[in-house]
Symmetry: C2
Subunit: 239 residues, 2 copies
C-alpha cells in the first residue's frame, strides 16, 4: 500500500515536471496580458459596490506564466495579494480604469486572459462628498449604468490577441459559459461554479475549459496547479 | 542637538509608559464591547455594497484595551486583520448580523465603542442567484432600505453602558460629530476626517474627542498610539 502511494506520488511529480517543462517551451518570451481581482465602483468617497473576487486565480496564472518565461502584464483590481515575481503589475480600482489600461496593452500581447470580475454596472453619478442619511428617509434608490464590456471590446479589434475569458456562475455554469464564448467571440472560456464554498475567496477551484473545438474538465485542485494545466492548454492553442 | 533629541525621545517614552500604566489601572477587568471594520450588504451571491473601513482603528483600540487588562469582545465586519492577542472576536458580514451580536453582548459591557463603519442602507431584496446582465438593458436601479441604527439602539436601552461613537466625515467634521453626539445620545464621539489621504485604509489618523463637557484634539499619530490616548480619556470618564 505504501509502495503504491509512493509510486503514485512520484508519477504525479513527474507529470507536474513535464507540465512545467512543456509550459516553458510554449510560453517562453510570449507576451501575456491578464486582468485579475474585482473592480470597485464608488458610490461616494466612502462607499462602493464591490464583488467577492479575491484575485487569487488571476494572480496564480500570472505567476505560472512568468515562471514559464512569459512577459506578463497584470492589471489588477483592489486585492490584498503580493505581486508575483517577474510580473509587471498595474493597479486600478474601477472598470473604466481597467478598460483604459487594457486599451494601452492589448495590442502588444499574444494572449489576453480576462480573469477579473469586472463590475457590469457603475453608479450613474458618484457623490463628491459622503452621502448623509436623512432621518425622515427610509429608503433610497441607486441608479446604475452599464460599464464598458472590456473583453468584448478586445475581441472586436482587428489586431486582437488570443482571448480567454472566465465565467463565474452560481447556476447553469456550462451553458452560460458556452453562450458567453460565442456572444463575446472569445477563443476560449474557463467556466467555474461560485457559491456553496467554491470559487471566490478560496485557494482551490475547479474549471471547465471550453473552446470551439474542445471541452476539458480540470478537476478540483490548488489554483497554482490549475494555472499550470490551463497555461498548457492555452499555450498549445497559441502555437 | 543630539542630546536634546535623546532627551525628547526619553521624555516621550516616559509619557507612553505613564499612559500604559494609567490605562492598566483604569481598564483592569472592565468589559469593553467594540465593533470594527465595514459591513457588507449583499446584492447577490457575488456582488455587495461595501465601504473603505479597514478596521485598523477598532482593532488597535481592542488590542490596547486587552493589553490594559480589559475583557474585550470585538464584533468585526469583513477585514483582513489578525485577531489581537487576548481579544474575543466575533465575525459578521452585514449590519443586521452586527446588530444581532451587539444585542447579545451590550448589557454585560461597561463600555461600548462603535468603531465599525456600519452601512446605513442595505439592498431591499438580495438575489439568490447571480444577477445576469441583459444586453438590451443599459441601466438599472438598486432599491435600498435603511439598516437598524445600532449605536442609537444601545443608547436607548435602560441598562446601557458608556457609549462612544465615531464620525468619519469628508467635510464639516466637527459640526457633524457634535450633531451625532446629541442626536444619538452618545456619551462621547471621536471625529475624524476621511478622504485626501486621511482616515480609512491607513495606519495613522488624527481624532477630535468630544463629550458634553470637553473637546480634545489628538494630533496625527499611529492608530496604536491614538488608541492608548483615547482609552485614557474614556477610562477617566468611566471611573
Amino acid at each position: 500500500d505504501i509502495l503504491v502511494a509512493v509510486e503514485a506520488f512520484q508519477a504525479s511529480l513527474q507529470d507536474r515536471q513535464a507540465e512545467l517543462l512543456a509550459n516553458a517551451q510554449l510560453w517562453k518570451q510570449r507576451r501575456l496580458l491578464i486582468t485579475a481581482g474585482p473592480t470597485y465602483e464608488d458610490i461616494d468617497p466612502v462607499r462602493f459596490i464591490g464583488n467577492r473576487s479575491s484575485g487569487k486565480m488571476g494572480y496564480a496564472i500570472a505567476e505560472a506564466a512568468a515562471c514559464a518565461g512569459a512577459e506578463v502584464t497584470l492589471i489588477s483590481g483592489p486585492v490584498s495579494l503580493p505581486t508575483p515575481f517577474g510580473v509587471e503589475r498595474i493597479d486600478v480600482r474601477s472598470a473604466e480604469q481597467m478598460f483604459a489600461e487594457v486599451q494601452k496593452y492589448y495590442a502588444a500581447a499574444d494572449c489576453f486572459i480576462s480573469a477579473a470580475a469586472v463590475a457590469d454596472f457603475r453608479v450613474e453619478q458618484m457623490a463628491e462628498q459622503k452621502l448623509k442619511k436623512q432621518n425622515d428617509v427610509d429608503s433610497m434608490s441607486l441608479n446604475l449604468v452599464k460599464n464598458p464590456d472590456i473583453v468584448a471590446w478586445v475581441t472586436a479589434q482587428q489586431d486582437k490577441p488570443f482571448v480567454v475569458g472566465f465565467a463565474a456562475e452560481t447556476e447553469n455554469v456550462e451553458s452560460y459559459a458556452r453562450d458567453k464564448l460565442s456572444r463575446k467571440k472569445l477563443d476560449m472560456i474557463c467556466a467555474n461554479q461560485v457559491g456553496q464554498g467554491l470559487g471566490f475567496e478560496r485557494d482551490d477551484n475547479r474549471l471547465t475549459v471550453i473552446s470551439a473545438s474542445e471541452t476539458l474538465a480540470l478537476p478540483q485542485s490548488s489554483k497554482s496547479e490549475l494555472s499550470s494545466k490551463l497555461l498548457k492548454i492555452i499555450g498549445k492553442a497559441l502555437s
